[in-house]
């Protein structure tokens, strides 16, 4: 279970989060949507302790991770896998070395077991046979899939996705959406997907949270959320620019 309580965060004079609270149950799949720059990625990074809030609490299975030092956080982070917006693959390593990274660090597995698991993880993300490629040789979509394989190979309880389909064409986006759903259903993980792609939010979330004006503005099941007549939700869902923007 993940719970955020009254999170506040500022960078310099700019307030990004101002009293954000929500709760996500085990096994749930939640899409967090909001406009670019609304603080979605900042919020996601608070959930795994990559950023510390100015005020508020983040509870992971009832344990408050705010104020923990980096070593204490390592223990909590073993429950998480995270897929970054730019994939964040280690460019000095091959695909196989990237995917095997967490297993090698645990030092519990034989090389044969690691190879078997890497091959399986790459098959899950539809990238068999790419073990020896370098990240620089991969397209944006392939990099995100490798990032996903790296995040799920050690079977985490929670997977965080930061803008998984941003910058990808509709067909690759569709395949990434299906992959997120496959991982969610097969591995029974809790998924939190930060996105501003309405199609992704509609498909992968059991619940949609909308971050607006530094707070959680709206929350609900996808059908209910996308049928909302609230003007702010409607404007975002329909993709209508403000007059002042035009």
């Amino acid at each position: 279970m993940i719970e955020a309580r009254s999170l506040e965060k500022s960078f310099g004079a700019q307030k990004i989060l101002d009293g954000v609270s929500f709760r996500i149950e085990n096994g749930e799949s939640v899409a967090i949507i909001g406009r670019s720059g609304s603080g979605k990625s900042v919020l996601l990074k608070h959930l795994i302790g990559l950023l510390q809030p100015d005020a508020g609490e983040v509870l992971i299975d009832g344990e408050n991770i705010v104020g923990m030092n980096e070593r204490q956080l390592l223990r909590v982070r073993r429950k998480f896998g995270m897929v970054f917006q730019g994939a964040a693959l280690f460019d000095s390593m091959t695909v196989a070395e990237n995917v095997a990274f967490a297993l090698r660090r645990k030092k519990k597995f034989t090389e044969a077991e690691i190879t078997r698991r890497v091959t399986f993880a790459l098959e899950v993300v539809d990238l068999p046979g790419t073990e020896n490629k370098n990240p620089a040789e991969l397209s944006g979509g392939m990099r995100k899939r490798v990032g996903l394989a790296r995040a799920i190979i050690y079977e985490p309880q929670i997977v965080l996705y930061d803008e998984p389909t941003t910058g990808l064409d509709p067909i690759v986006s569709d395949s990434i959406d299906k992959l997120i759903i496959r991982v969610r259903d097969h591995l029974k993980v809790t998924s939190i997907v930060v996105t501003h792609d309405m199609r992704t939010a509609r498909r992968v979330g059991n619940r949609v949270l909308m971050l607006h004006d530094k707070k959680i503005y709206a929350s609900g099941a996808p059908e209910e959320f996308f049928a909302s007549q609230d003007p702010v939700v409607r404007q975002f869902v329909d993709g209508v620019a403000d007059k002042k923007v035009i």
């Binding site: 980096e70 390592l74 982070r77 970054f84 964040a88 693959l89 280690f90 990274f101 660090r105 790296r150």
Partner: protein, 268 residues
């Protein structure tokens, strides 16, 4: 009135600068504490450590050898020009040897390695930070200090003394060749005087210094890389600052180390 405003503005910027320097020093101290704690718990990845020794040590040899050779030759020639006036030609290599062992060898080697390796460390870690690879490490339950800083620090502290010895040996050898074959100094007395006036403590002083400089180069390079600003500009600035700060720190530290160790071995 304008003077009051000018003074207030200068005070503001001076205070800001002092606060910045103190913050940086404090953060490097915290990083050092974290590194020592990590190194003492033996969380080092041996494969990474060996690679770093190769990168910092083996790959820096050419630059260190060239620096050592030409410094030794110039120092030998200049010393000869002065000593020749007072008929002390055969003491030339002794001066070169003591200077190279305790001062020039460790300092020049460290400055060259700071330029090559300190910059590379800051650029590599800075790029990793900008592309979220350091955050990715943290999400994979890996402490960046264990994985990135400790292997580089230990490797630099192993490699620097070895590179210093190499630089000293090449410098003395080059100076000997210049003295004997170009300046025409009598070789036997040149060599005997060098052995007579160069003591173990001179070399030990150089080795201790180079061990400390290895730590300075790795720590400042890693710190600057891991805290660099965003974008290409941030990486560029971190790289420049890593080289400048390590070089200045080495030169300042050298003065105090010389005084301290001189006191310890009774030269003061």
């Amino acid at each position: 009135m304008p003077i009051v405003i000018l003074r207030a503005t200068m005070n503001f910027f001076a205070n800001k600068r002092v606060a910045y320097v103190l913050t940086e020093l404090g953060q490097i101290a915290l990083l050092t504490r974290e590194v020592i704690a990590s190194a003492l718990t033996f969380k080092v990845a041996w494969r990474d450590l060996l690679y770093q020794i190769y990168f910092i040590g083996i790959k820096s040899q050419s630059v260190v050898i060239v620096t050592g050779a030409f410094t030794g030759m110039v120092l030998g020639a200049q010393t000869y020009f002065q000593f020749h006036k007072v008929k002390m030609d055969t003491a030339t290599l002794a001066v070169v040897s003591v200077s190279m062992c305790s001062e020039l060898g460790p300092v020049l080697t460290a400055l060259m390695v700071a330029g090559r390796v300190g910059a590379a460390i800051a650029a590599e870690l800075g790029t990793m930070r900008v592309t979220e690879q350091i955050d990715a490490l943290r999400t994979l339950a890996t402490h960046p200090v264990d994985y990135l800083v400790v292997p580089r620090l230990i490797a630099a502290q192993i490699a620097l003394p070895l590179l210093t010895v190499e630089s000293v040996v090449v410098g003395i050898g080059a100076s000997y060749l210049v003295g004997v074959h170009i300046l025409g100094i009598e070789p036997t007395y040149l060599w005997v005087n060098m052995l007579k006036y160069t003591h173990d403590v001179d070399l030990a002083m150089g080795l201790v210094k180079s061990f400390i400089y290895g730590g300075i180069i790795a720590l400042i390079g890693c710190y600057k890389g891991m805290t660099c600003g965003l974008g290409a500009e941030g990486v560029g600035r971190a790289t420049t600052e890593a080289v400048v700060y390590s070089s200045i720190t080495i030169l300042i530290t050298n003065f105090f180390l010389t005084l301290l160790m001189g006191k310890l071995v009774g030269q003061l």
